[in-house]
């Protein structure tokens, strides 16, 4: 009985030093940090890593972030969204500078990954910052020259909260706004539901590989809708983001 895509990596994974190489402000509340990690051995699209910060008094905090870069980029980057009363995210989004020292543990996660050899069609559904690992998947698909059909359905609160908007724009990307839409918007302006999934996604007969990422309630709702539409649970992979304290 096979359980995974690709071989399980038997490698000791521990904390390694990482330095912020570049800071890219994506939206008013989200920042991408490109990291230098000596000895980084690459990752697969969809994986994530744990990041640890150490204060001068020795206090440590760690959080988990999806890797935003594609394997072909050769470096790990993370995109962090600020949680207002968070402890770590405000620092990473607003304060981190090139040269800052962090620690990284990873990459981890072999289940929520996609490689071109997995084929398509690929149906990606993102809630808010759940778009980060899906962007890694799409970036990998593009850089590897895959022709697997792919569609992205992205749920965002408002236009200014759409991360990677220009990079992801295109005929195969559908955005739905749940709080405020741009002026003159004629697209979806409601939470993802079964009708929207049916209209935007691939039909069950096409057996798409479905990746759903975002807050727990979003992921569980979309997964249930996908199953109700006839998609098989074995084709659905999920990653839930929690409010991990920010």
């Amino acid at each position: 009985m096979s359980s995974a895509t690709g071989a399980t990596e038997r490698r000791i994974v521990g904390w390694q030093p990482a330095t912020v190489r570049e800071v890219i402000r994506e939206t008013p509340s989200a920042t991408t940090l490109i990291l230098d990690v000596p000895g980084w051995r690459g990752h697969r699209a969809g994986q994530h890593a744990d990041i640890r910060l150490t204060a001068e008094d020795g206090y440590q905090a760690q959080r988990s972030y999806s890797i935003a870069s594609a394997p072909e980029d050769g470096y790990p980057s993370i995109t962090v969204e600020r949680l207002d009363d968070g402890e770590v995210s405000p620092y990473l989004v607003d304060d981190a500078q090139p040269g800052d020292a962090l620690e990284i543990r990873g990459p981890v996660g072999g289940w929520f990954v996609w490689e071109t050899s997995d084929g398509g069609p690929l149906m990606l559904v993102a809630g808010g910052s759940g778009v980060v690992p899906l962007r890694s998947i799409l970036r990998h698909r593009a850089l590897a020259g895959s022709d697997a059909p792919a569609r992205l359905l992205l749920s965002a609160r408002a236009p200014e909260s759409v991360i990677y908007r220009d990079e992801l724009a295109g005929a195969d990307t559908t955005i739905t706004y749940t709080r405020s839409a741009p002026d003159g918007w004629t697209g979806y302006a409601r939470r993802v539901d079964r009708d929207m999934l049916a209209a935007v996604g691939f039909a069950p007969a096409e057996r798409p590989r479905i990746y759903i990422c975002g807050p727990t309630a979003f992921v569980e709702g979309v997964a249930a809708d996908a199953v109700a539409l006839g998609h098989h649970t074995d084709r659905i992979r999920t990653e839930r983001f929690g409010a991990t304290g920010g």
């Binding site: 399980t8 890593a49 988990s64 990873g106 072999g110 289940w111 409010a243």
Partner: protein, 90 residues
Amino acid sequence: MDENDARLDGNAAAGLLAEVFAFDATTAMVRCSSCGHADPLGAATVYSHAPGVVVRCRGCSGVLMRFAEIRDRVMVDMRGAAWVELQATG
């Protein structure tokens, strides 16, 4: 934080599991001792906002595994897993 935020999946425990098992555990299949349901660990329900990490069966909510980081050690209790299946690297 509402109760949905407290409930994550095995992907959230991947970093800790990777230190414990020295391989990627999220693709490992785990069978629940209580109800027999089997899932990849990445799909299991994880509660990580606690003094430790609790991995629960998607079928019956029974505890599959528990982990606690105690100083420089990790305590692991896998009694809730009837078996764990891994892919050999060959």
